[in-house]
Amino acid sequence: MTEDSDQPGLIAHRCPKGHLTYPGHTRCPECDQAQTETVDLSDREGEVITWTENTATPPGVREPNTLAIVAFEVAGESVRVIGQVDGAVEIGDIVEPVYVEQLRDPQAGIREPASQSWDGHRFRRVE
């Protein structure tokens, strides 16, 4: 399953038992059921689980590139998302997603540009 590319949402996928994943999968990794619902995380806040600042990035990627794994709580279920960070963060910080039209130059890397989307959400600390 490919991620949604026609809308600036940050879309997690949910199976009938309530397990949430980002991105979606053909079957829920927890219980093997088809994922039938989506949840937009783009207007929610999450917590930084960990982060890194990458200073040796591949072609077409900003340098340095700070990345974080962020956990969102949705109806008692946790779902994690990885993404670029604007500014600095620490473990435990509360962040919000900010939509960006192009996260890296699709023409510069090895991946076929048409095979995936290149827009998405960076995380920014909520003051």
Partner: protein, 383 residues
């Protein structure tokens, strides 16, 4: 059926002028030269390789190797499991002999990488990631930085303890003439090197490497007819973890290592306490620590202590990466899992020279992605 390894070889690891076909042929020919069986015995040929097409524009390397080695007529197949291609090749070679499909199987793993810039090579490897990772510029080193920070925060592991892994593996590499690096380093070398993926620095990472390695497999009873110098694959198992790394419940726990290790040891009828020496996949210093925990050598959150306390040193209670590991020996992707077992073959036969340890039972853990695919192999001396 017990499966034996009767010959092993590897090229020097480092920067080579030769390309993938030549590297594979050099290691494959050296293995056949060292083998007690005639080359006519070979029925299957497996080639472990992640990305010859992406690195060099050369596909079909298994057929090229069959032709170049004069093995026409054999069944051949390229095995790709990214960085774990070597371990997956061992699994394929073991299966071919254990099933009776092949009486003699040659496995050659190799990769040609150094003609690409660091950024380009990093991008080829990062192409294994999911689109939602790739579009953010996520690389394998960035997974290491994310995981190391989480590990240090959660378990109060000092930054120096990860550097100790690199110091140990560099020391071991000075005794391995095939290793890319032959230089000792100390903790300050690591901590003063440039940041790559904070908190990890240049010396926390393996280099980019050209090289190849090879092993020859046959039934143990056939091996015994020709030689006393062989080792037996007593256990082997593979496992997978999530493709999308952030979906793991706990980033610091390598479920694929735990599952493949448990299964391989169970197959061998052994526990981790029986193992005398291990080659682990130290693509990044943090990965050696996490594998020690997932394999049960250390309790959870305590793996960082082992290099610091000398437990995993060459003269320690549980030597890890006597070859120098990926860190010092180098990491030609498809060759690495094969080269781990080349080292353990030499160790079990007492041929490891200055880096020899006292070992009857050995374990190799080969990891692809950031623990996405794992093969664990248990080897035992024949005598």
């Amino acid at each position: 059926m017990d499966v034996a390894i009767v010959a092993a070889s590897m090229t020097d690891f480092g920067e080579h002028d030769s390309w993938i076909r030549d590297l594979l042929a050099e290691a494959g020919q050296a293995c056949l030269d060292a083998a007690p069986l005639d080359r006519e015995a070979v029925e299957h040929l497996y080639v472990s390789n992640m990305a010859s097409g992406e690195f060099e524009g050369q596909t079909g390397v298994m057929n090229a190797l069959a032709h170049d080695l004069g093995l026409l007529g054999v069944y051949t197949q390229r095995v790709d499991q990214t960085s774990a291609s070597g371990g997956a090749g061992i699994y394929a070679a073991w299966q071919s002999v254990a099933s009776g499909a092949s009486e003699c199987t040659l496995l050659v793993g190799g990769e040609k990488m150094t003609h690409r810039s660091t950024g380009e090579a990093t991008d080829v490897i990062a192409s294994l990631t999911h689109p939602v990772e790739y579009k953010h510029g996520v690389t394998l080193p960035s997974f290491a930085g994310l995981t190391a920070r989480r590990y240090m925060d959660r378990f109060d592991a000092p930054r120096e303890s990860l550097a100790e892994v690199a110091v140990k593996n560099h020391a071991n590499g000075t005794n391995n003439p095939h290793a890319q690096f032959q230089t000792e380093i100390d903790v300050s070398t690591v901590l003063e090197s440039p940041i790559v993926a904070d908190p990890l620095r240049l010396y926390d990472f393996c280099p980019i490497t050209d090289g190849a390695a090879a092993l020859l497999f046959c039934p143990a009873d056939v091996a015994a007819e020709y030689t006393d110098d062989y080792v037996v694959v007593s256990g082997i198992a593979g496992a997978t973890d999530t493709h999308v790394v952030h979906e793991r419940a706990e980033p610091t726990w390598m479920t694929g290592v735990e599952e493949s290790g448990d299964e391989a040891l169970t197959m061998a009828g052994r526990s981790i306490d029986d193992v005398d020496v291990a080659e682990l996949h130290d693509m990044f210093t943090i990965l050696e620590v996490l594998q020690l925990e997932a394999l049960g050598v250390a309790d959870r959150g305590e793996g960082w202590q082992l290099a610091q306390d000398g437990v995993t040193a060459l003269d320690g209670a549980f030597p890890v990466n006597p070859s120098g590991g990926l860190k010092s020996k180098g990491h030609p992707l498809g060759a690495s899992g094969v080269a781990q077992v080349v080292e353990l073959y030499e160790q079990l036969l007492g041929r490891a020279g200055e880096r020899q340890v006292n070992a009857d039972i050995a374990l190799a853990c080969n990891v692809g992605g950031f623990g996405n695919c794992v093969t664990t192999t248990v080897l035992e001396g024949a005598r």
